[in-house]
């Protein structure tokens, strides 16, 4: 279980809170995968910072994988989440499958992107939420600086899902913004199952820019029910997994 370390650290944190021994404000949110966390500054995704997520290939337009990735991260921040969008195609039950259940997230359907950026900033500044997600196509430098400052002040994590109407517009992702990290997730073929069917989704994940860390890319399995991504087993045909009979039982 690759997520085991993260589960243990989460349980430890909960014990600390219950026993009331430490006052700890978390600075980063680890993915629970050492290969990835090592390459991020302070070993995780920084709270109080802006992170950009885009989809690759057709995902730049539909933003499905980006939404799933953002939902997993937002769910793991543990508190209330605001999700701002203006396109009506978001399907909430799927976000719940990445851990972002109905009791954790409130949606804000805006008329245009100006309203999204305004609500995004207000929500970050407020400080009562643990993460705010905004789906935008354009993110001008000044707007991103405002979001970054608002996030820094309150310690709320800001996740901007970048998605464009046309493929050519996706070049905008190269323009500079004030974000801490910039991710691109592209759906790739899922691992082979011993039976017919579609396995857990897989992404080719690129870390295109990070402050105080190094760029990298790797293949990961999509978020599980608690929002954790995982590194796929190197044995692609999966004997390590099938030995305990789990996949057979499911398939």
């Amino acid at each position: 279980m690759p997520a085991a370390d993260a589960v243990i650290s989460e349980l430890k944190a909960r014990i600390e809170v219950i026993s009331g021994r430490t006052v700890r404000t978390r600075m980063v949110l680890p993915f629970g995968i050492p290969e990835i966390d090592r390459k991020l500054r302070k070993g995780g995704l920084a709270f109080g910072a802006l992170h950009e997520i885009a989809g690759g290939a057709n995902g730049a337009v539909d933003g499905a994988a980006a939404a799933s990735f953002a939902a997993g991260i937002a769910a793991r921040t543990g508190g209330n989440v605001l999700w701002c969008h203006c396109q009506p195609d978001l399907f909430a039950p799927a976000l719940a499958q990445s851990g972002l259940t109905a009791d954790k997230v409130v949606f804000f359907e805006a008329a245009d992107e100006t309203a999204i950026l305004d609500a995004f900033e207000k929500a970050l500044r407020h400080g009562g939420l643990t993460a705010v997600v905004g789906e935008v196509s354009g993110l001008p430098l000044v707007a991103s600086q405002r979001l970054q400052m608002a996030a820094e002040k309150s310690g709320t994590m800001a996740l901007a899902i970048r998605r464009w109407r046309r493929h050519v517009d996706a070049r905008d992702f190269g323009n500079s913004t004030a974000s801490f990290t910039r991710w691109r997730v592209t759906p790739v073929n899922s691992g082979a199952l011993p039976v017919r069917g579609v396995g857990r989704s897989r992404w080719f994940m690129e870390q295109m820019r990070t402050r105080g860390g190094e760029d990298f890319e790797c293949e990961v399995e999509a978020c599980d029910g608690k929002g954790f991504i995982a590194v796929p087993s190197l044995l692609a045909d999966g004997p390590a997994e099938t030995e305990d009979g789990r996949y057979r039982a499911v398939g």
Binding site: A67, P88, D89, L90, P93, A94, L95, H126, P187, N189
Partner: protein, 487 residues
Amino acid sequence: MGATGPSADVPLVLKGSDGRRRVITAADDLAVHIGARVGMPVAQAESLFADLVIMDSDPAADALALEKLAIWALRHYSPMVAADPPAGIVLDILGAAHLYGGETGLVDDVVRRLSEMQITAYAALADTWGAAHALARFGGQAKRIVIPGGAGEALVHLPVDALRLPEDMLPDMRLLGLDTIGELAAKPRAPLARSFGQKLFRRVDQALGRLAEPIEPVQSPELISIQRIFAEPIGAPETIAKYTRRLVGQICDRLEEAGLGVRRLDLHFTRVDNRIETIFVATAKPVREPKRLTKLLCDKIETVDPGWGIDKMVMTAAFVEHLSMQQVIASYSEPARPDVEELWDALANRYGTDSLYRAVSVATDIPERAVKRMPPTSDDVGSTRNAAFRRPQRMIRPPESIMALAVLPDHPPRAFTWRGQRYAVARADGPERVRGEWWVSDNEKGKVRDYFVLEVENGERFWVFRGGDGQHEETGSLNWFMHGKFD
């Protein structure tokens, strides 16, 4: 009249005096149907209709009841409400309609709630008080909404009675052959103004929006209200914000004494040119914190046009609810996070309550109906009926037709074409059969959809379905549709 009145199946009229004799002042539908009418002498009515029930009218009580109704509307709908005697109320819904899902939603809500109170209501919404007044009374429709700028056109065929003119003016106008507002508006003004006075065309201009007609909001001693009059008119936004803060402080003290919290707080600014500008904020739960209310109000100050200056500010707690003292939880372990309800209120006041929602799952198999929107304060966790089934992050609404090749009855497609691009299917899951819900719609009776999860060669994952079970024609068309995109 409630339980003390006569039963509803006998004709009823009210009598009063017009100065010289006793006349009928009001008649119900049944009485009008048999021939009684307003203005008919009581003696005549008594002799014509044997079973007519005649009761004394009570204009003072009517006026009081209308005032009460206006205060009810003030609490529920808009900060600018006034009684429009003898039998109407007028609401200025600028900035209030979005709380009810737009103008249609607000009008529907008003009529529905009034009918629940056993009041038959006619509602009209137009650019001006005059136009709405005329259309509600003479438009002949229970609900009428006139598009902005359409007041002139809507009024053309209405009788001149609709213009709120003095009673004695109407017979003379008839004599001149002026029956409709359109005819009147088309006439040269000077000769008519000489015989009827300026009042005539003032009413026409008010109805058509050429002259402003302010609504003086209804006041009530039971509403908590604070006002401040300025010796020197104010106008700068910072000054307005400063006095807003002071008024909020005072009103919160009053609310605390009464053990109340505010759900809607109105702030009226009377300008030196006697126009009234109004802003208001609504909250999901009763609130009494000065800081929070000030912030909500100050977000709206930019919408106030101070004109030549503001000389009076009136703050009214329009809608209040009981709010007891609350213990603030002091914790050493974790710094308290600000209350998120404050944020929901701020966003709802800026963008409308409809724009904020929790997406709650519904116990249904039809994906289009799988989510219902609940307010952010709701703690409805929804159904877990389909929680274990894989669902797409993006749903394509409505489903788009695709060309697909598949073996009947239950094989997934081998390949399909969507939006002009051809995809070869590498892996597939399904079918997941969804049956139409005949109790929702007759069209769905006996219909079936078979859903498949498809993974194509480049790794993208799609959600497609086929209408019909592949064996029986009556279950669906056998056409394929694209319905979603997975991560």
